[in-house]
């Protein structure tokens, strides 16, 4: 969804409510603003002013339209982009404390992951149609084990990289009002690698529902692997496999903790 289209929809939604609180809003509501824009600079400032003045209205308009109307691109992407930006800085700071043992840092990153990802939604997307076949108990177990698995792989993998910065360079609104936040790794072995985070807002905070590394989606990748497991086995086999992997991981980290 492009910014302009989102903006038009937002103004449409406002028009339908028949409200105009500021002169800017009034003009936008009449749809006549485009003709007045001569210089790009002026139009830029007006766009910023509009975005600022619309910000509180957009949420209302969205609620009024039952989520059918999408909000202005810039305002919608602001919060998730900020979240990724701050979290990246937080993680880089943890990684920089090299004097601390790896386990402590991994554990810290894991606890960040717990807050950051929407494991419930990710489990549903990863299992796709198979999700329907799960009993409530299986769902609870699956989400729990998948959460541990993801958090741990996320934590240990990040801990291997330490000289990099993360450049958050763009954000865009996707279908279903999801937002993609695009980042690039600067420096180190994976200089220039593209990592895009897809976020969805279902409760209060925005949460990550997918990580796309160089075009490879984590959700899609796990989905294809789990599908293979389910082709030959049951959902209980899959959960057992997850559990087994997590158990080995826990065991392994305990051992290294003893040795270290």
């Amino acid at each position: 969804m492009s910014m302009t289209r989102g903006f038009e929809m937002a103004t449409d939604a406002m028009r339908s409510r028949g409200e105009a609180k500021t002169p800017c809003d009034a003009r936008a509501a009449k749809g006549s603003i485009g003709r007045r824009l001569r210089s790009p600079l002026v139009s830029g400032w007006i766009a910023i002013a509009l975005v600022v003045s619309l910000a509180p209205d957009v949420a209302l308009a969205q609620a009024a339209a039952g989520g059918a109307a999408s909000a202005s691109g810039a305002t919608l992407t602001e919060a998730p982009r900020k979240l990724i930006d701050e979290t990246a800085a937080e993680i880089v700071a943890i990684l920089a404390r090299k004097s601390e043992p790896a386990e402590t840092r991994v554990a810290e990153i894991e606890s960040i992951a717990y807050e950051l990802f929407d494991f419930s939604t990710m489990s549903k997307l990863v299992l796709a149609r198979n999700w329907r076949k799960l009993t409530p108990e299986q769902r609870v177990t699956f989400v729990k084990e998948f959460k541990r698995h993801l958090s741990h792989t996320y934590g240990t993998r990040l801990d291997r990289y330490d000289q990099e910065r993360v450049d958050v360079y763009a954000a865009q609104v996707e279908q279903r009002n999801d937002v993609s936040v695009k980042t690039r790794i600067v420096g180190g072995q994976f200089d220039g690698a593209e990592i895009s985070y897809r976020l969805r807002q279902q409760g209060e905070p925005w949460k990550i529902i997918d990580v796309v590394i160089e075009g490879v989606s984590l959700v899609s990748n796990y989905r294809s692997q789990f599908q293979e497991v389910l082709n030959t086995g049951t959902i209980d086999d899959l959960i057992a496999k997850l559990r087994d992997k997590n158990f080995k991981v826990d065991d392994g980290s305990k051992e290294t903790a003893k040795n270290g």
Binding site: S120, V143, Q175, R176, D178, S180, G192, S217, V219, S224
Partner: protein, 300 residues
């Protein structure tokens, strides 16, 4: 006859696979592929990985990166040719500049100066050129020793390699030194192997942990390869362009069901008993809608 062998094999694969490879079913030759994949894995475990580990032990990381940079720079004329074929003038300019800077200031490509001054690192090959003009990837193929390809990208690789060999070996280097055809072929295979060992050394940790964490390593590699190639064809490695269509669809196409089934399992185990009122609420909702559930199940 020896030259016809691979060609016949390709034609056979084409006949067997290309007709039934679709985006929903990209791997019609899975059984054969899995066999070859297992063979390649064995080869890696007992030959390539140990050698790469030895190489990694002896050669410092920056030197490994330098060697890979050198090979990438050597391939730049092919990249540029493919950008011309895809009618991407901006990238052509960028990569001519990249090739120039890295060959001169970067001492034959060993140092990637271009990236440091902010010239983007584009990546094009003939497989992408074909994809750019609408050729579908065709079936997924695991090639002995060489690894994952699609029919399109395998063909692209042959074209690129041939063009590269033609450009470098016949025109400049080997004619001057006076090597025979066989010696030239031997040298290029040796050169390819050297690059492979060096590259394998760079990714020792990544491949080890991917293998360890994977639930089905074959599927892991296939999915990663196909999505990455698709994203590169679309010049969109920063999105899930390759798989976007159905990936996030689930909740919408099963909307009613999805809501009914949402028991929020994430919080359930931790907060049992502390939310009596909410639990009652949830139960009554479930009760009211279980009829719908049943109806939908019958429908299936």
């Amino acid at each position: 006859m020896r030259r016809l062998g691979p060609l016949l094999a390709l034609v056979g694969l084409l006949a067997a696979g290309v007709g039934c490879a679709t985006p929903e079913r990209p791997d019609p030759l899975e059984k054969v592929n899995r066999g070859i994949f297992a063979f390649n894995e064995g080869l890696d475990r007992y030959a390539l990985e140990p050698v790469a580990k030895g190489w990694d032990f002896v050669v410092p990381g920056p030197v490994q990166d330098g060697i890979e940079n050198f090979y990438r720079n050597l391939n730049m004329p092919i990249v540029i040719a493919n950008e011309v074929l895809q009618a991407k003038p901006v990238r052509v300019v960028e990569d001519v500049a990249r090739f120039f800077f890295n060959t001169t200031l970067g001492i034959g490509g060993f140092f990637d100066v271009a990236t440091r001054v902010g010239i983007p690192d584009n990546d094009e090959d003939f497989g992408q050129t074909l994809g750019h003009w609408g050729v579908p990837p065709g079936p997924y193929l695991v090639v002995p020793i060489l690894g994952p390809y699609t029919l399109r990208d395998g063909f692209g690789e042959i074209a690129d390699t041939t063009a590269g060999a033609f450009a470098y070996m016949n025109f400049f280097w080997f004619d001057v030194v006076g090597l025979s055809n066989w010696e030239t072929t031997g040298t290029s295979i040796g050169s390819y192997t050297f690059r492979l060992v060096n590259l394998r050394a760079i990714y020792l940790e990544e491949i080890a942990s991917s293998r360890k964490d994977a639930f089905d390593y074959y599927a892991f590699v296939r999915n990663a390869y196909l999505s990455n190639r698709q994203a590169r064809v679309l010049d969109a490695t920063d999105t899930a362009a390759g798989v976007e269509e159905d990936l996030y669809e689930f909740d919408e196409e099963d909307d009613g069901d999805y809501e009914d089934y949402d028991v929020d399992p994430e919080d359930a185990p931790d907060e049992e008993g502390t939310e009596g009122a909410e639990a009652e609420d949830a139960e009554s909702v479930d009760g009211a809608e279980s009829v719908d559930d049943a109806g939908i199940r019958d429908g299936d």
